[in-house]
Symmetry: C2
Subunit: 409 residues, 2 copies
């Protein structure tokens, strides 16, 4: 028997009709002879509704109680999906995070899974039942309910797949897989049949919304065969692989973009050891993630440093940086939140030079000025003015020939 | 320290404003120095909303999954009330039925509490916290979520009070206590300061909606001081007592009515041993509760038997009785759902004659015909045509002088 762990997100279970559609899919897969664990999120809109109730009652509500509240969302879905399966003659049993013993640490709102006691799930599977598990939630060592934070249901699915040694973990979403670029921007964008875990990680961290970085990392750690596919359309989706790539693999797998960042610059600071730490340290201490960092040496023995943060942290970061600038007697501070980040990602660039040249040349040809550059082994990111986002993505998609199935280096 | 267990029903926590009002009440009682366990129901309307979702997904949904679904209702309330208490500076912690170890049997939808492991609640109380517990729900020996059925939150409160040896269990409702009659029918009806547990049991089983029979029985078994009071108005409510009554206790405590019953009669059946069983047995076998039963012997060696059932079971019962009549070659079957039951309840009647006479005389004076009579040690019930319900209740209330605080026998 093949054991599948399938995860359906909030949109896929957003109302009774959609829950019925998921039940149809699961019943069919079960009838095909697969053993199944199904992980579901709260019905779309439910988490927001509950969060608004909480904010109304107490804008500074304790995190423990927020988790008690929010975890009811998935509990509703597991019950309804199990009922829908029963109506289709499929024996199913629902489990909350607590019941299935998804043990986490006690960091409410963004708990991490420690282990899963899957004895009961295995027994149900052995008895021929489909097991329906509430995503996004767990329980700490004192039986307090915890939630896993953003992308938590994906994490639950990957963790269940790892614990049970599933043959495949399938993440059903509202897209048909991983694309060479956002199809809303590039109509010629192609769905990728396969992508390496490293590329998927880069794409996730660069703003592709298909999978959260955390669940890809988790899958990579345990080498779980992970497939992203559509909850609404039939199709093979995209498989995340851990093998070496065949020779004809394209250089570049995809173009990613991110318009959720803002840029901050501090100019005319002493060019001395430890200066970057003294600038970025206070920002990190305020729990702000710093993304790209570049430093240029100026002509007069001073230097400039530029970095990007999430747009939500823009004002806070600017305030901190302005204070730092006073202390360091910096010349001035600049900031800009009208920026976008464009990235090309591909394991092929490990062994091939000239990717950066092709990228910069293509952008220059369209008159798109590059403000910052940052590279890793398998990606190159540039920051440009945000009005060039769509043009930039289309230009790069074409420059690397991604509309064709394969491109020889 | 005084330890109070307080229970607030669905109407009392029906929206954010009402949850805030409950939090104010609890915070005040805590500030007065009381240790507190608060049991809450689902916000009013929530259980219906969830039940309708379930019915849409699967009209024959498995009871286990219905319990998983419905139990989210109270879980939402415990989280919100805890948040509201925190906002008032009161340390509070919420517990689901599963977390507080309210262990039940496995009869989903109407589970019975087996025991409560209150160690964690005691520790919280000792640490100065208010403990907020989800009513209506528990967990069986396999960690399946169960619900306790109608009046379940009251049961939870009484059970918590029993387990913890609380000084008082307070059931907050939308009425100010137990009245000598329904104030909507009898404007002169008085709130009773105290009532014996036996009287309360009769009133509950006779249709007074203040408390469910099951929770009163439970409280009586453990002799929990139980008080019914208003969630919306200040006031002492009504205390349910276990002591012998003082001399000046009135003969009659209250008048109850029930208009949810229907009457069935089978006529011309052989007057022989076992005949009542052969008639009532098939009705009970169909899970219909039979309430009043009377039998008259006729002149010709045959007899008639009349009984009442809940109006919801009327059609089913009539069908069964018609089949039985054929088998027994009965003369005919009659039925009537335009009936009402009027009852007078009071422990005083144990030691005093003439209560029935007063009752029958008062009704006769108003031209109200009595169709059936049934008595117990502390109550007399009669069935009348339902159009006489209000007149009958007012007549009896006056006949026993219940508008005055005390009536000497």
């Amino acid at each position: 028997m093949t054991l599948l762990v399938e995860k359906y997100g909030g949109t896929s279970v957003g109302d009774v009709a959609r829950i019925n559609a998921v039940a149809d899919k699961v019943a069919k897969s079960r009838a095909d002879g697969n053993d199944m664990v199904v992980v579901v999120s709260a019905m779309s809109g439910e988490t927001n509704r509950l969060s608004e109730l909480a904010a109304e009652v107490n804008p500074l509500a304790p995190a423990r109680e927020i988790d008690v509240l929010l975890s009811t969302g998935e509990q509703v879905t597991i019950a309804l999906l199990s009922m829908a399966l029963h109506r289709r003659g499929v024996e199913a049993r629902s489990y909350t995070g607590s019941q299935v013993h998804i043990r986490t640490d006690s960091v409410h709102g963004r708990a991490r899974i420690l282990d899963i006691d899957d004895a009961r799930v295995r027994a149900d599977i052995a008895d021929g039942r489909v097991v329906v598990v509430a995503g996004f939630q767990g329980v700490d060592h004192e039986q307090n309910i915890t939630t896993l934070g953003r992308g938590g249901s994906d994490i639950t699915a990957v963790a269940m797949a790892a614990a049970m040694g599933a043959d495949e973990c399938r993440i059903y979403t509202d897209v048909e897989g991983v694309y060479t670029a956002d199809p809303r921007i590039v109509p010629e964008a192609r769905r990728l049949d396969r992508i390496t875990v490293e590329e998927m990680l880069e794409l996730a961290s660069l703003g592709a919304k298909v999978l959260q970085t955390r669940s890809v990392e988790f899958a990579g750690k345990y080498r779980i065969p992970l497939r992203v596919l559509s909850a609404f359309e039939d199709g093979p989706g995209t498989l995340i692989t851990y093998e070496e790539l065949p020779m004809e693999q394209p250089l570049i797998s995809g173009i990613a973009y991110n318009k959720d960042e803002a840029k901050l610059t501090i100019r005319g600071i002493p060019d001395e050891p430890g200066i970057a730490y003294r600038i970025v340290g206070p920002i990190s201490d305020a729990h702000v993630n710093v993304d790209m960092i570049v430093q240029n040496v100026g002509a007069d023995g001073t230097t400039d440093l530029t970095f990007t943060v999430h747009r939500n942290d823009y004002k806070k970061s600017l305030q901190i940086l302005t204070e730092t600038a006073k202390k360091l007697k910096a010349r001035d501070v600049g900031s800009d939140d009208n920026i976008a980040k464009l990235s090309v990602v591909g394991v092929g660039m490990r062994s091939h030079a000239g990717i950066a040249t092709t990228m910069f040349h293509a952008l220059a040809n369209e008159g798109i000025n590059i403000q910052m550059i940052s590279t890793s082994e398998i990606k190159i990111s540039v920051v440009v003015e945000d009005k060039y986002l769509e043009l930039g993505v289309r230009t790069l998609h074409k420059a690397f020939g991604l509309e064709n199935a394969t491109v020889k280096p």
